[in-house]
Amino acid sequence: MPHRSGASHSEGDAAKTQLIMLPGTNVKTLERVVIRFSGDSGDGMQLAGNIFSNVSAGEGSQISTFPDYPAEIRAPQGSLSGVSGFQVNVGKGVHTPGDEADVLVAMNPAALKTNLRYLKPGGIIICDVDTFRPADLKKAEYATDDPVAELGIDPARIMLVPMTTLLKHTLKDSGMDPKSVMKCKNMLALGLICWLFDSPVESVLRKLEKKFAKKPAVYEANAKVIRAGWDYGHNTHSSMPTYRIESEAVKPGTYTDVNGNTATAWGLIMASEKSGRPLFLGSYPITPATDILHELAKRKDLGVKACQMEDEIAGVCSAIGASYAGHLAVTSTSGPGLALKSEGIGLAVMAELPLVVIDVQRGGPSTGLPTKTEQTDLMQALYGRNGESPLCVLAAASPTDCFTMAFEAARIAIEHMTPVILLTDAFIANGSSAWRVPEEEDYPEIRPHFVDASRLEQGWKPFDRDENLVRYWAVPGTPGAMHRVGGLEKDIRTSAISTDGKNHEKMVNIRREKIARIANDIPELQVAGNPDADTILVGWGGTYGHLYTAAEELNAEGCDVAFAHFRYINPLPKNALEVLSRYRRVIVAELNTGQFADYLQMHLPGRRVDRINKVEGQPFMVREIVEGVKSFLGGNEGSINETGNTNSNEA
């Protein structure tokens, strides 16, 4: 998909993501396209989707993908509950996996039924008609033998492909057993998609060849099937338009496709390399955070020690031990685990030890919706500990931003001797996009705050501080620096334990001020969209892609909005309040009932903060934000009450 400059996409309306015919050609160019692959868990939909998105990325498209797994580990084949989906958004200006699909690939009637609701009006369906057998239809709970009519699908928008027949025919001389033959069905779908999007089959084959390098026979079979899919599309649907997806000039470099959890793990490894501190992870499995543990457990090959402990408390506590021992210490979890870690995190606050806590947020409270996404742990991260217990809270904006923010969490923890909680969420943890593998010089050195020999000679005390109020790290093994730390309050001068009230108040204030001063060491808040608008749309964490796209669409439609997204939550960027106070209207959109809005409200006394909230365990749809913002802009200008409390308006 070569980059086609300028020529082809209609001006900035929402329809640009739809399939638009260009005059005078039967190859149409799209700015971006959303494809949803759906089928049984065993149908290999994710592999097909991944190959397609990676090939597109290799051609210069941006990509964003999101898997949608069934809750059951092994649901019955062909059943509604067994359908899994994999959505990819490829093209230009891609920031989310897309609200709805332009093309739905459904490998059986169950997939068709459960995924139809994700299809855009006017979108195209590719379906295996060979699976419309009575038994399959029954499993998928159809009332008639005509799923297309029963679901009210326009026959002109569905390609009913006899995939199973084609597959058997293509591989009849391969000598493969029927089960292995069926495993190649995903490649038939992929071939069709390649045809539909005028995608170079050669690049796909190269990827496959690498994947099956050790199994040439499997590669040959799959390659044959892909070509068969492409040929089928070309020969039987030559009247149908095919599409070209736009590419974008991206920064030169080597790219890979990465999901948020892997990016988080890698960001920590980068921080370890940049700080010279070995990486230690203490963790306990919990959805959707476990893949961080999995990845770091593999990275023993880079010297990482990832320990599966007996519970979350042991996870954070082992990390505290490793931190005291001089390591870059991390614990990873989700909301219920963060609750268990509270007391341990408080110890790290009190002992002023570097510690990175990663919370991959999921639906709560309690066990809640383990596989679904939410932004509901913000207050827990900020305040969920006993006593005055300030720490640094960060939030990653996208799958690839998890890398940067994990690095930042480690940098701040080490350089400011504090626990840092990094909030990600199920959506960005499992979603993926193309990511430029960083070069050595892309990230700064992290400078551990070690106590040095001259300071030791001058009679160093464990809670002596520098001008940023940061204490020094004395790593066990260092002669002459033996010291004890703990959860008890200590004397401001001598560092010995103290119960003096006045002293305690001073120490409380110092610990708070230490965190506040981190603001001098983080980037300022940037304003995107139309900075001169009256209204600013505000978000934080994993909703970035949806909010950014919504702001883009609003501005394109003539609804002027500025847009600011927070990744540094505590402390807030230095300019944040000044920036927000420039706008007549501040609208916070978040996946909870208003936690960040309340937090901002607290920092913006007398200002009203409007809200767009959703707590359905699902990410925002761009449309919902666009509509939500419009409902605020639509005529009720007079209701802005400069001194009033929150006027919650839920979209």
């Binding site: 690498k210 010297g303 007996e310 931190s323 021992a325 004890r484």
Partner: protein, 346 residues
């Protein structure tokens, strides 16, 4: 364990903090012995870390001139595990009370033992919650009358040794606060053992549970009610070492040598190193009533330690890979593509 040639004295391990335990508390004696044991051990103060939870006994790290942490209630084992895994070169001691180690910290305790992390766990068993002023603990005897059990407890206690064996522990030793030599002996053995070593020290809380161990510890009665087990030696006890332990069916029996036809040859010889823990359990379960309470090293069996296995695995997998940093790892294990100028490089 990194010992040095340098000679240490107990004062090298003593901090300047004044000790705050009640006068007469058994903790004083244990602390003094620990200073001495560390000096004998020959590991430098900067190579030693002492990690405690919360409780009277857990105040101990403040009195050590070593690295140390006074952490949160029950979590010392988990923190010590992290420290030792990160830094196998450090010699790590854990100080816990019976409440800290076996109630709130019970989960971490059994898992530290099972995992066989090389830490030395000193369990100060006063059968009471001292710091919170006298509630019963998981080692308090059934029926114990305390502030939170004014009519006596209605639950059975843990026997710490039994938990250790249940968690498949490889080192268990016991002493009594006033038996200074024995305490030092078992501390040294614990430190020299590779793996999780549990040392139970019966400790007197003069304020809230005074005399709870006195029928074992009183000078006049100690010889009759306890037996000091020593590797390779006959299991003899009594003032004149006139009594011994013999096999009796599947159990043990205390006999008087020369009575009822029992001879010295019938008396068992202690072997702490047998992999099977059957006899060790029986010895550890003796409570000083019918059979004497065992002190000394009861079990001391070598087995691979957690942190050494982690380290070895790291070295082994590193050796098999041709990358040394994150970027090279990604380039050699992930599907990548190149954008800009150069041809696609896969």
């Amino acid at each position: 364990m990194e010992t040095t040639e340098k000679q240490f004295v107990p004062a090298d391990f003593k901090s300047e903090q004044s000790v705050r335990w009640c006068p007469g508390c058994g903790d004083h004696a244990i602390l003094n012995v620990l200073h001495k044991a560390m000096a004998d051990l020959g590991v430098a103060p900067e190579k030693t870390a002492v990690i405690s939870g919360i409780g009277c006994s857990s105040r101990l790290p403040y009195y050590m001139n070593t690295y140390g942490m006074h952490t949160i209630h029950g979590r010392a084992a988990a923190i010590a595990t992290g420290l030792k895994t990160a830094r196998p070169d450090m010699t790590v001691w854990q100080i816990s009370g019976d409440g800290d180690g076996l109630a709130i910290g019970g989960n971490h305790f059994i898992h530290a033992v099972r995992r066989n992390i090389d830490i030395n766990i000193l369990l100060f068993n006063n059968k009471i919650y001292g710091l919170t002023k006298g509630q019963y603990s998981p080692t308090s005897d059934r029926g114990a009358v305390t502030k939170s059990s004014p009519y006596g407890t209605t639950e059975d206690p843990f026997i710490p040794a039994e938990l250790v064996f249940g968690a498949r522990g490889n080192f268990f030793a016991r002493s009594i606060d006033i038996a200074l030599d024995t305490t030092k002996e078992v501390m040294l053995a614990a430190a020299r053992h590779h793996g999780a070593s549990v040392v139970e020290v019966l400790q007197n809380c003069v304020i809230f549970n005074n005399g709870s161990h006195s029928f074992l510890s009183d000078k006049e009665r100690r010889d009759e009610h306890t037996i000091h087990l020593r590797q390779g030696e006959k299991m003899l006890f009594g003032k004149e070492m006139e009594r011994g332990l013999v096999q009796d069916g599947f159990g043990l029996k205390a006999v008087k040598i020369g009575e009822d036809g029992w001879t010295i040859d019938d008396v068992l010889v202690h072997d702490a190193t047998t992999p099977t823990n059957f006899l060790h359990q029986q010895l550890a379960m003796m409570d000083g009533h019918e059979l004497p309470l065992a002190i000394g090293v009861i079990r001391d069996v070598a087995s691979p330690t957690y942190e050494a296995e982690v380290e070895a695995q790291v070295e082994a997998v590193k050796g098999k890979k041709n990358f040394r940093n994150l970027r090279d790892m990604i380039l050699s294990t992930s599907e990548t593509w190149t954008v800009g100028g150069e041809a696609e490089k896969e």
